[in-house]
Symmetry: C2
Subunit: 360 residues, 2 copies
């Protein structure tokens, strides 16, 4: 069975090996005569799955022992609220770096909790770039500095993170977690919806430095990081099927050679498509500034909206999925998360060249 | 492949037909060459799934048009907070009926939001019963009356609901939704985690009367019912795989003959096991009062803790899963949600009789 050329921005393609394994044991998980989703979340069998997902993520991302790994629900959108509810000191406020719609949404939720400042923004230039590190400023006593590590809509990605010293750096890594090596110890908290690089939608990973986990009885129990840290993410029934699939994706990532090999693959994949743009003599125009280009979401337009339309139409006819830009910005976007095969990127690059030849 | 005798309290057994169908199309949903969880949540293909789940639930439960159906995340535990955050008027407070641990947890979260009163409680008698309707009292101006329709831990279930008139009645139906006919128009809001009668864990169904959906900018966006009602539960990426499985479970329920036939099956299943208790001359003792017995969770003990232990041991050896009582109360519990086959209940009843014969 051929797999679709799936360039969806998320939910996105998953490794075929993961789907085949899950399919095979769908009615009989490890000889239990039950599906993994029919196991009690308090059972030994499920605990193994849950713990394996956590241990593999720790190994792959080299997460230090003074960090907790939580499996939550509600997506990054709920983290937009949980982060300030748990970490924003109303006397000191918090600092947000705006690099796109998702950081704006994070800021909007923080404003409901306490004072915020904008540490930097590239909104005026249409979010085509990540701000230079020297242009980012925050109050010394701020509760934290928040950034979005990769901007799915605009196709930009941080290449280097600000040094925030004693101030916790918090990152929404929904769209580039596990795609390249990062030094977790530079961050106070990292969060990510799973549906791009980690698994299906329905589970959110939070990696939090333990000293940032505080007791606060006034918070809704489910919105307190302490609740989930104290119960190993088993305070209430977790999304067991999604966590199981996450564990399979992490196994697959390890089999690929871990994050450093995945990073190389992603560089190769991105180069194939960026080269098709850069060698097109202006037929394709990338949205992102060169120095801010994302290796996860490649955004581009054609010389006219008619040609963009025609490109998307013919790409769809040729079996490419998900190449339309986000409804808020239009144009084209190829999302090439970890599970998108190199071969599919090659086929897309060839398609782009052929389309250019017959349409310029 | 034989299926396990799965009496888990949740996550629980799912219909074999559902698992087989999901397995079959796991890598190729309706000719898309993609798994359903690889579809964009904004795609036509996924929209069909999403809308089908909603339409089937409306049809099966006969949900009137002035109610919205929402698919959320976070389980009933997050609803414990969302209900008061959205509906508790701090000037009037809210009223809670306590029938077990889950209603206590709901009350605890409401207390963080505003004043609460206890409209009735059977805590003193060990939660062995649902309070008689005439013993339930609430202030006329209360924001709502909250109850837990079925108590998984104690094995009790409401047979008849209080008439609350103009006051919205709110029910946590996590463990008996879709198990029997109910008149939705009697309720202001119904919520249920899916992992007992509706599907896998990771999706929560909320059925809310439209006039109760209010605009409140101070709420975290993700915790406002208005957000999800306005966006057809697509404000952010929903748990698409869990909603797809929910749609298959609902199809299965319809194929069974709908809720009235499912209710009859559940009565038959419960009778098999309650008869084994009642005809045991006191060898098995039910926890719940006769008039409050649950058709979903049957709780019982044996003459001594040694015999209870031996029963659970031998039941485990015989292939029964999930018969231990909740860790907070001990004893035995058979959870017989919609997808547990009559045959499995018959086999359990026979096992109970045989065990009694050789141990009394």
């Amino acid at each position: 069975m051929a797999r679709a050329y799936n360039f969806n921005a998320g939910p996105a393609t998953l490794p075929e090996e993961v789907l085949l394994k899950a399919q095979k044991e769908f009615l009989d998980f490890e000889g239990s005569h039950m599906s993994v989703m029919e196991l009690s979340h308090r059972s030994k069998e499920y605990s193994k799955v849950h713990d394996k997902a956590s241990a593999l993520l720790r190994e792959l991302m080299e997460i230090p022992p003074d960090y907790e790994i939580l499996f939550l629900q509600g997506g990054a959108s709920l983290q937009f609220s949980m982060v300030p509810m748990n970490l924003l000191d109303r006397n000191h406020g918090a600092s947000y770096i705006l690099t796109g719609s998702w950081s704006e949404k994070a800021l909007k939720e923080a404003k409901k909790v306490g004072p915020v400042e904008i540490a930097a923004s590239t909104k005026e230039s249409g979010y085509h770039a990540i701000p230079p590190l020297e242009d980012i400023h925050w109050k010394q006593e701020t509760s934290y500095v928040h950034l979005t590590s990769n901007n799915t809509i605009y196709g930009t990605q941080w290449q280097e993170y600000p040094q925030t010293g004693q101030v916790p750096l918090i990152a929404d890594m929904s769209s580039d977690i596990l795609s390249k090596k990062i030094d977790v110890s530079r961050f106070g908290l990292i969060y990510a919806g799973a549906q791009k690089n980690l698994g299906p939608s329905g589970v959110t990973v939070v990696i939090i430095r333990k000293d940032l986990i505080k007791h606060d009885d006034s918070l809704p129990t489910m919105l307190s990081y302490e609740t989930h840290a104290n119960s190993k993410s088993l305070y209430n029934t977790p999304p067991t099927l999604a966590i199981y699939l996450l564990s399979l994706v992490l196994e697959w990532a390890k089999d690929q050679g871990g994050v450093s090999q995945i990073e190389k693959n992603n560089q190769q994949k991105a180069k194939l498509i960026y080269d098709a743009i850069d060698e097109s003599n202006g037929f394709y125009t990338g949205h992102a500034s060169l120095e801010s280009r994302s290796h996860m979401n490649i955004t581009f337009t054609l010389p006219s909206s008619e040609l963009t339309e025609k490109f998307l139409q013919e790409a769809g006819d040729a079996g490419f999925i998900g190449l339309s830009g986000h409804r808020s910005v239009g144009g084209c976007r190829a999302s090439i998360y970890n599970a998108v095969p190199v071969e599919h990127c090659l086929i897309l690059a060839e398609f782009m060249k052929k389309f250019q030849k017959t349409n310029s």
